[in-house]
Symmetry: C2
Subunit: 129 residues, 2 copies
């Protein structure tokens, strides 16, 4: 499998875990020192918060359909131990309060291979102003 | 010079060129096929617009002081031919209409080494909602 194929598989596994609302499996791709720039503030989310399964689970449990993530224009640039990728991600679902969600976001991920495994060490998600 | 030092030098040269309001020099770091996610819409800025020196020059010429860019928490992950970096960038200056600018942005860059030279192939800039 090429480096890019390995990374694509990791991202797809994470998306599949989110769809099942399985926070622990989704966060398994995240490095413990993740530097996270999220859609909402602060400028930089502390790593312990960004990688915390309970926080992710609470967000996932606010959905009763989805969330599904559909990647468009995914581009992966990978060397032996460093990689990044970017895509336009459509997030769809329905909140437990009945509110439907359908938004497009820009996503950039930075990855490092550590002890033979790719980990997401940086995530930048935004919507344009 | 390490890969990370080479990349730091390129970013600092670009920032210095912006401060001089020299769009051609600033854009020399950008790959022609740059995938740009900018603070303002659209979701993805067309490469020809994101790399166009005249467009950048018009933006720079809207300043009569700066713009200066101060990077905080710069982290560079670089392999032989692929690299990414992220930082919190403070942009300061004064517009020709007298308006002062002082904003913090999140910046992520993706780079590739092509024919011995690092080029910025992806840029993601945002402010949190």
């Amino acid at each position: 499998m090429s480096h890019a194929d390995e990374i694509k598989a990791i991202i797809e596994r994470r998306i599949e875990a989110l769809r099942r609302r399985d926070a622990a499996a989704a966060n398994a791709a995240l490095d413990k020192e993740l530097v996270a720039f999220e859609v909402a503030g602060p400028l930089r989310l502390p790593a312990e918060q960004a990688t915390d399964a309970a926080t992710t689970q609470a967000w996932l449990d606010s959905f009763d359909e989805g969330p599904t993530v559909t990647m468009e224009e995914l581009t992966i640039c990978a060397d032996a131990e460093v990689a990044f990728c970017h895509s336009l991600n459509r997030i769809q679902g329905r909140r437990v309060d009945g509110q439907s969600v359908d938004v497009m976001m820009r996503s950039t991920l930075g990855l490092r291979k550590r002890e033979g495994e790719w980990k997401i060490v940086h995530g930048h998600t935004s919507v344009p102003r």
